[in-house]
Amino acid sequence: MNSSIPLLSARSLTKLYGEHVGCQNISLDLWPGEVLGIVGESGSGKSTLLNMLSGRLAPTSGQVVYRSTDCALSRERHATTTQDAPNDNTNATQCREIDLHALSEGERRRLLRTELGYVHQNPRDGLRMRVSAGANIGERLMARGERHYGRLRATALEWLDRVELPRERVDDAPASYSGGMQQRLQIARNLVTSPRLVFMDEPTGGLDVSVQARLLDLIHRLVRDMDLAVILVTHDLAVARLLSHRLMVMYHGHVVEQGLTDQVLDDPHHAYTQLLVSSILQG
């Protein structure tokens, strides 16, 4: 059972900043449709890890392999060709292995616009603040070659609905949106091309509790309905519990514990995880 091939595999990822260890020797596999949470305190290396996994930051050593369905992209960079198990109907196409850190900048950008997504903690880092919401949503589609204005607009309106933003705000620039609305727009902008894997860095950080709850519900539903794989970095264990299937706990650049989310949080073994879990305020 579970014979399908991972979507993303990292092997022995290490990032050193001079003497300082950002991340040390981290390996992981992520399968289609799976949400992996990475938790730990500030400075534990979780953002460094996310940036290496998404190809944005070059590791000191180690490798990140993404299995793409985009053959044009991978033809030049293929490592080995693999065939999915025939009974795996979620991903029946042939996929090729891409070493994310061996891609040129242009190839990496192309991948980030199509099969991958990246949701920043601060929506200002992920949106074009001065162009309309509709143009923000349409950008990835246009990058993929869609030029028909009517279809772009229709898709933008459909996505505003999906992320519960009012249609009449389609022509407004996100600078005029509230923080929660900006974050929902950033999610729409990323998901419009139906990516297979989305990286999320504290997607609900810095939002009011009520806005956060609504956003969690939205992310949860979209992930399920679109069968997205997600790597989610958060320092909030409640967010990790609600969204992620599996959890990795980071401490001083190392993964100290990992497993099924509820198992790690309800039966933590490592001293640091026990400290983390016992420090949650009871609401």
Binding site: M1, N2, W31, E34, A213, R214, L216, D217, H220, R224, R241, L242, H245, R246, Q258, G259, L260, D262, Q263, D266, D267, H269, H270, A271, Q274, L275, S278
Partner: protein, 237 residues
């Protein structure tokens, strides 16, 4: 004799509390029992004996220190105690259901969506999922005016019924119940007893903790005694 669905072999569970001077708690010591299809096994013993710990280990929520928990699912036999997280996840989606004592859900999500979720995750069509959810909520006497509300403001008994509906909506070969009737009135306890008996009649293997003697006597086909010495013996109910 029906087929064996769950085999617990020499199961031990120790907790080491690193934040409290490395205190070691021996929660379970050499637990052995089997559950066959159609049986309802009640875990029986004093408070603090480790009944909930055992049930949580069966669900893969607690990681055993040693021993085996073999579950015979349609996909084959798997040892939950040593299975990788993805396998445990897959078994939870397809083979093992669990009704916890407390409802833990995303704030603001409606009762209907919470109850239908296990079916939706298993790929059942939305219309079918919501119809089954409605039928189950009605059977558990939860007023329809509550169905589209989030359960955060519900009473304990109402929340428990949402939890039960969520646990029973998708029939699985294994059903784990942690005090499902704790805060229910007599009428709703009766519904839960019927639901458990129906599950057994359909070949489900049930393991439960029932504090209420009346419910336990009505549903349990055998008892696993977990006493203060933390060893278990199987007796006929």
């Amino acid at each position: 004799m029906s087929r064996t669905v769950i085999e617990v072999r020499d199961l031990c569970k120790h907790f080491v509390l690193h934040q409290q001077g490395g205190t070691r708690i021996d929660a379970l010591d050499s637990i052995n029992f089997t559950v066959r299809a159609g049986e309802c096994v009640a875990l029986y013993g004093p408070s603090g004996a480790g009944k909930s710990t055992l049930l949580k280990a069966l669900y893969g929520n607690y990681l055993p220190t040693s021993g085996k928990i073999i579950v015979h699912c349609p996909q084959g036999a798997v040892d939950i105690a040593s299975a990788d997280p993805r396998t445990v996840s897959m078994l939870r989606r397809t083979c093992i259901s669990y009704v916890s004592q407390f409802l833990r859900v995303i704030p603001r999500v409606s009762t209907m969506d919470i109850v239908a979720e296990p079916l939706l995750s298993a790929g059942v069509r939305a219309k079918t999922a919501y119809e089954r959810a409605s039928a189950l909520l009605a059977r558990l006497n939860l007023p329809p005016r509550l169905w589209n509300l989030a359960p955060a403001t519900f009473s304990g008994g109402e929340q428990q019924r949402v939890n039960i509906a969520r646990g029973f909506i998708r029939p699985t070969p294994i059903l784990l119940l942690d005090e499902p009737t704790a805060s229910l009135d007599a009428m709703n306890r009766k519904v839960v007893v019927e639901l458990i008996r129906e599950a057994c009649a359909n070949g489900c293997a049930v393991v439960g903790i029932f504090h209420d003697d009346d419910t336990r006597e009505k549903v349990a086909t055998s008892l696993v005694h977990i006493n203060e010495r933390h060893d278990a013996e199987l007796k006929s109910a």
